[in-house]
Amino acid sequence: MNIFLEILVYGAVQSAVYALLAMGFCLIFGVANIVNLAHTALYMIGAYLVYTFFSLLRLNLAMAILLSTVSVGIVAMGLYRFCIRPVMYSEWSVLMVTISLALFFQQLMIFFYGPPDRNVQGFIQEKLTLFGVVEIDAQRLLTLGISVILLILLWLYIYRTRMGKAILAVAQDREAALFMGINSERVYLTVIAISAMLAAIGGAFIAPTLGARPEMWSPPLGRIFAVVVLGGMGSLEGTILAALLIGYTEVIISFAISSYFGELVAVLIILLMLTFRPSGLLGKRIEV
C-alpha cells in the first residue's frame, strides 16, 4: 500500500514536468512545424538563470523566476528569428540547427559556470508527509502544483482567447489563416515565446531538486520525444495522456527494477510507436 501511494505521488510529479515540457515542444511542432531539439536546452537555461538570480544575486524568489522566464522567452524569439527561420525551408536543417544550438548552450553554460553541478536552495525547504506515509519534499509538490496551473492556463489561453483561436487556425492551415488576415509570423513568435517560457519555468522549479547541470537537457529530451510520439505530434490532449503514461511507467519501473530501465522504456516506446502507429494515441492521421 505504501509503495502504491508513493508511486502515485512521485508519478504525478514526474508526469507533470514532462507534460509541461512536452506541451511546449508539441505546440511549436503543431503550429510552426518546427522540431525544436533545443527545447530542453531552454529548460536548462531556465535552471541556470534561476540559480544566477536567486542563489548568486539573491533577488527575491518571484523576481528571480519572472526574470529568468522572460529572458528565456526573449532568447527563444531571437533564436527563431535569426537561426531557425532562415533554414525553415528544409526540415532537417532545422533539426541540425536546433541540436547544434542545444550543444552550443551546453558548452556556454560550462564556459560560464563550469562543469560541476550548481545547487539551488529549495524555494520551500520543508518535507511533507502525505496520506500519513509518503514522505516528499515540498519543492516537488510545488513543482506539481505550478505545472498543473500552467497547463490549465495554457489550455484556457488556447481555447478561450482570440490569439488562441489564431494559433489553432495557423496550426490547421497556415495559408488559409493568412487569407483570413491572421499574421502568422506573430503567431509563430507568440507560440515560441510561450513554449520557451513553459520550459524555463519547468527548469526553474526543477533546479532545487535536480540542481543545474550542463547536461541536464539531454535526458528529458528523450522523454519528451517519447511523450510526443506516444501522444501524437500536434495533439495537446494526447500529450497530457502520454505524459501521464510515460511518467508513471518510468516511476513504476524505477521502483520495481532500476532507474536505468526507466530510460530504456522511453526509447522502446518511441521505437514501437513509430513502427506500429506513427500518428500516436490521439494524433490525427498524418502522412509520415
Partner: protein, 319 residues
C-alpha cells in the same frame, strides 16, 4: 541543380582525390611526430564514418541521428570477440561490419515508413538503446570505462597508419564509386521526389534498405578498426556526441557529395587539434560554425568552393 553536374568537374575531382591520396600515403615518411600521425589515423577513420553516413543521408535525404549505433555496434562486436575469444583483428573487422549491417537492416525496416523528424527521432532513439545496455551489462562490456587490452591491428605505428589509409581508400573509394554510379543517381532521385521515383518503376523501399545495410557495414568496419587502433572500446563509440560530430563534419564539408564530408572530416580533425588549448571553447566554436554554415553556406564548403572555381574557369574561357 543536383544530378546535372558538369562532366569536367568529375575528372578534376578525381585528380584531386589521387593527389590527396598520394600526400596521405607520404605522411609517415616525412612526419616524425607520433602524435600527428596518430591524429591522421583518426582522421582516416572519421572519413569512413562520414562517408558511410553521407551515402545514406546525403543521398536519400534522411538525416540519421544515430550513426553511432553502427559505429559502436561494429566497435563493440570486434572488441568483445577479440577480448573474450581472441579472434584476430582481420576477422573481427569484417564481423564488426557484418553486425553493423544487421543493425542497419533491423533499424532500417521500421524507419522506411518514416520521414523527416520522425526518422530522426527513431534513429536517435535506436542508438540510445545499446548505449544504455553497455551500462546495464557492465560485467561484460566494462560499463562506462569500456574494455582495455584489445589486440592492435599492427604492432608498428607506420604499419597501423598504412592499414588505416588502406581502409579509408577502400571504403571511401567504394562508397564514392557507388554514389557516382547509376545506383547513386537512383538514390538521389529518391531524395528529390520519392513518388516520382516510384512512378518510374524504382523499388524505393529496396534501395533505401540496401543503403541502410551498406552504410551500416562500412561504419561498422571503421568502428571495429577504431577499437583495434585505440586498443580500447568504450561507450563513447555509441554516444549521441559521436553521431552529432559525424553530422557536423558532413554539414561543414557539404552533404550529398561524399568527397565534401570526407574533406570535412579531415578539416575538423585537424581543427580539433589546433583548438586543443581552448578545450572548453572547442565545441562552442564547432556548433556556432554549424549554425552559421547552415544559414549562410547550406551547401557546405567543398561544393561552394568547387562551384566558385569552376565559375572562375568559365569566365577565363569566355573572356
Amino acid at each position: 541543380m543536383p544530378g546535372q553536374e558538369n562532366r569536367s568537374i568529375f575528372t578534376s575531382e578525381r585528380i584531386g582525390l589521387l593527389i590527396a591520396l598520394a600526400i596521405l600515403s607520404a605522411v609517415p615518411l616525412f612526419i616524425k611526430d607520433r602524435a600527428i600521425v596518430e591524429l591522421i589515423i583518426l582522421a582516416n577513420i572519421y572519413a569512413v564514418y562520414v562517408a558511410s553516413w553521407d551515402i545514406l543521408c546525403g543521398y536519400t535525404g534522411q538525416v540519421n541521428f544515430g550513426h553511432a549505433l553502427f559505429v559502436g555496434g561494429g566497435a563493440y562486436a570486434a572488441a568483445l570477440l577479440n577480448f573474450y575469444f581472441k579472434t584476430p583483428p582481420w576477422v573481427t573487422i569484417f564481423i564488426g561490419g557484418g553486425i553493423a549491417a544487421i543493425f542497419g537492416l533491423i533499424i532500417g525496416t521500421p524507419c522506411l515508413r518514416l520521414r523527416g523528424p520522425y526518422f530522426a527521432l527513431a534513429t536517435f532513439a535506436a542508438a540510445a538503446v545499446p548505449y544504455g545496455l553497455t551500462d546495464v551489462y557492465w560485467e561484460i562490456t566494462g560499463g562506462l570505462d569500456g574494455l582495455y587490452g584489445i589486440s592492435p591491428i599492427w604492432p608498428t605505428l607506420a604499419g597501423r597508419y598504412y592499414f588505416s589509409l588502406l581502409l579509408t581508400a577502400l571504403c571511401c573509394g567504394l562508397i564514392y564509386a557507388g554514389g557516382r554510379s547509376n545506383k547513386g543517381l537512383i538514390l538521389k532521385s529518391i531524395r528529390e521526389d520519392e513518388i516520382g521515383a516510384m512512378a518510374s518503376g524504382i523499388n524505393t523501399t529496396r534501395y533505401k534498405l540496401v543503403t541502410f545495410i551498406v552504410s551500416g557495414f562500412f561504419a561498422g568496419v571503421a568502428g571495429a578498426f577504431y577499437s583495434h587502433n585505440q586498443l580500447h572500446v568504450g561507450p563513447e563509440t555509441l554516444s549521441i556526441n559521436l553521431s552529432i560530430l559525424v553530422i557536423i563534419m558532413s554539414v561543414v564539408g557539404g552533404i550529398g557529395t561524399i568527397t565534401g564530408p570526407i574533406c570535412g572530416a579531415y578539416l575538423l580533425t585537424i581543427f580539433n587539434e589546433m583548438l586543443r588549448e581552448w578545450e572548453e571553447l572547442r565545441l562552442l566554436i564547432y556548433t556556432a560554425t554549424v549554425v552559421l554554415m547552415l544559414i549562410f553556406v547550406p551547401k557546405g564548403i567543398v561544393p561552394a568552393l568547387s562551384e566558385g572555381i569552376s565559375q572562375l574557369f568559365k569566365k577565363r574561357k569566355g573572356g
